[in-house]
Symmetry: C2
Subunit: 120 residues, 2 copies
DNA sequence: GTAATTAATAACCGATTGGTTAGCGATAAC
DNA sequence: GTTATCGCTAACCAATCGGTTATTAATTAC
């Protein structure tokens, strides 16, 4: 071990591994919508329109696509109810619950960064 | 307060705030490269080519653009040394250090997710 | 009869992401 | 002389991101 660690507790080899893991995570969570959708759903089961109302700015097309992606990655489940105006319910899976730390870290940093830069 | 909280410790109002903060963070960290670059630089000051070698798959064009973005957001500093083959050094700022928790959370989840899904 | 509702999908568009190739300068190695 | 080096930049291209509008079905409200 060298003294490199003092500058950021990241050695050459651990950096590589970290980067691989971060890439894996980002490949699944890419775009600005997925985490927002998951936060919204972490509140409880919701219908398509409810999510679209809560996640400000998202279009139906994107919401539909993102939900499909999330379903494929086993982060969300979809339940269709056989009613007249169609009813489709979405919920987070247990696996999505493991994203809690990521969400907390990101939202805390978002606030920090806004104070530092955006809200100059 | 309602019993909503039991299902995911996220109320309607806290969800909105969380989503705003997450959006702020993602607007700055978007794409699959920025966090990887920051992890690489967290090891210490590096030159352009060193980063490009460490962040697997990134092209010069993208690295150049991403570094510019990071500099604009005060996450990275750029130092030009006046030599013949040009020497440009990049370092993380103190502000970038506050991303530590985000990086840890994301890399841990990346590993978890790979075990769960990708590495079936 | 007309309009609104829900969860999409299709068609079309522009913007962004990201890759590839080529080029610049001055020097050093072959 | 030729080639390689470094940190970009420009030109060109494809794929993706993301928005808008229109359409579908069966039923309710006006």
């Amino acid at each position: 071990m060298l003294n490199k660690e003092s500058s950021g507790d990241c050695t050459v080899s651990t950096c590589r591994a970290k980067n691989r893991a971060i890439k894996d995570a980002l490949d699944v969570l890419n775009g600005s919508w997925k985490l927002q959708i998951l936060v919204s759903l972490s509140e409880g089961t919701k219908r398509f329109k409810e999510i679209s109302r809560e996640v400000e700015g998202i279009s139906d097309k994107m919401l539909s696509k993102e939900l499909k992606d999330l379903e494929m990655n086993q982060l969300v489940t979809r339940t269709v109810r056989d009613t007249f105006p169609p009813t489709v319910e979405y919920s987070v899976t247990d696996h999505a619950a493991t994203l809690k730390e990521v969400m907390i870290a990101l939202s805390e940093w978002g606030i920090l960064h806004r104070n530092k830069i955006i809200g100059s």
